[in-house]
Symmetry: C2
Subunit: 348 residues, 2 copies
């Protein structure tokens, strides 16, 4: 890049707002990219101002994943849409057993959105990307008229690489496999919903947003034969288990007593009428692995800060109905169905 | 995939509408993905219902690019947001001299959006992807409340591969290089704007949306030393030339008489007060190449249906001010500056 354009005053990040001109592909767009996005993400790919970025393909297979983030509110205890957009896509790569390498980021901005908020979001993305060891190498920015979006929507797409031998897949759960959960359920969902409803609890509930690829690497080091792996985001643990049951043609049973839930999250769920099995998490994972390696996997997870509360929560069963059931704390059983009609929108 | 879920009636694509539940990660989300997206894009990656897709890395470097599409109206003469979202990303890959391989697609849907419109958009994407020889291998769907988006926004991200020797870059324009344009300017921008303003002209103005990777391959076959290549979408030809002038530290001169513009587009521009140099195109490219290969490149382009009107429109010059100038049809000169404050939003 050849020094800044001299005809425009610098962006007023303190008091400025997104205007339609920032999306028209002219000088204002270039200025926004240069002073806000390139400055934060800071790499030669972005400084090259091409419409794409190129890199050497690493050995092994490649993994591609994408996610749009539309969370409301944009800022919540423990995170914001920016760190979610990076960690969410890093985690979707990690759930294939892959190492996250590169991200793209595309922004849909609403006219009038404060540049200060955008700056805060972009800084949060930059910090999260550095922490996860990924580079944001290409992007796009569009602006829509006031009232045609909700502040900012972010779509991140990630590329990672995975050894040829790793074959984690939703269809690989087998009867007698163990179901492992990495930690407490519901922290993110409750943090977002309580902020949205403006509820205050004695203890602040914080999102668990975090990158999980190192935890996954630790698991694969002791159990290269992991069968299934997923982060229970939107739809929660219930959606993940039902999806796997369906794709693998098996049933599942989980044990309520084994599922770690923070007391304050349990209390908030009771107050809000929510079931933690359906709440989004942004720094947790569920795994299915053969019974003989389950204990080793849990031990390896507990040595990692993001897996301290890891535990076996259930088993895979042969079941033509592909039912997911929970043995309740009182010894009964209940069906853990998909979330059907009751929506929990804009949680990630 | 194991046969369809039997507890839900099939989607009512004729009369149904997007509901918040379609974005909650539960059964309605799975049904939308299965019956609408997977059915149209039709490949084993999507049927696997994982949160990511994996593939063997081809030899050479990889290219990554992303774009969000927010065009209004969604349907216009010659195309719609669906074919734009595929061709736009295919073209951004092609502009690195790369072969497009895989796409991801992420949808932000507004509550109440008709399923019939979504189906039409998704079918258009499927047709465009097949025509361009790319597979849509992973995706995401989010739903926001009514009034928080504008029907549908689509973000596509593409991966392609490029031979190690190809080094097309915005910084490689050199004095005396020739500037080549593949065809008429302004068709897409005028088609969208006239539909938006509900204007009717004697001849229907149609978008030029098309995938350009084969045209690029034909160019590289005769001139592997192409210096710069870009599709003049948002911001138009003016933005591309100014970006290159700046990144390459050169000036440019183009000749108005040499620039092909359809008479009906010229008339519409005059009527609407628009300058075709700033209008978006979705099936055109601009190239900068060394003078000795320019004629060969133009000849090769003219043999391809998308390059029939290809022509040399100007030259690169040494210029410390990095000015882009146009020699007008009347022999004068004018500065072709970036589009500055006058926005043409939602055109792609």
């Amino acid at each position: 890049m050849k020094g800044r354009r001299d005809f425009f005053p610098p962006l007023d990040i303190g008091a400025g707002r997104i205007e339609l001109g920032h999306g028209s592909g002219g000088r204002a767009t270039a200025q926004l990219i240069e002073e806000l996005f390139s400055a934060a993400f800071d790499n030669d790919w972005l400084r090259g101002m091409n419409d794409q970025a190129s890199f050497e393909a690493p050995p092994g297979r490649l993994v591609l994943t994408t996610d749009s983030f539309v969370v409301s509110p944009l800022f919540f205890p423990g995170g914001d849409i920016g760190c979610l957009a990076v960690n969410g896509t890093v985690n979707d790569i990690a759930m294939a057993g892959a190492k996250p390498l590169y991200l793209s980021a595309s922004f849909i901005l609403e006219e009038g959105f404060p540049l200060a908020d955008l700056h805060r979001v972009v800084q949060s993305m930059a910090v999260a990307a550095r922490a996860a060891g990924v580079a944001i190498i290409t992007g796009d920015t569009k602006v829509v008229e006031r009232g045609k979006a909700d502040g900012v929507f972010i779509t991140t797409t990630g590329v990672g690489n995975v050894p040829d031998a790793t074959r984690i897949d939703a269809s690989r759960a087998r009867p007698n496999d163990r179901i492992i959960l990495s930690g407490t359920l519901g922290d993110h969902g409750v943090a977002v919903l309580s902020r949205r409803e403006n509820l205050h609890f004695e203890t602040e509930l914080r999102s668990d947003s975090a990158p999980l690829h190192e935890l996954v690497a630790a698991m694969l080091a002791v159990a290269p034969d992991l069968h299934c792996l997923r982060d229970p985001t939107r739809g929660g643990l219930a959606a993940v288990l039902n999806e796997w049951a369906r794709q693998s043609d098996v049933g599942m049973i989980i044990h309520e007593r084994a599922i770690p839930i923070r007391p304050e999250v349990a209390a908030a769920c009771e107050f809000l009428g929510l079931d933690p099995l359906y709440l989004a998490n942004e720094g947790k994972l569920v795994a299915v692995c053969p019974p003989q390696s389950a204990e080793d996997v849990v031990r390896a997870m507990r040595r990692h800060p993001l897996g301290r509360d890891a535990t076996i929560i259930g088993e895979v069963r042969a079941d033509a109905h592909r039912a997911v059931e929970m043995e309740t704390a009182f010894g009964g059983r209940r069906l853990v169905d998909w979330l059907s009609s009751d929506p929990l929108p804009r949680i990630c």
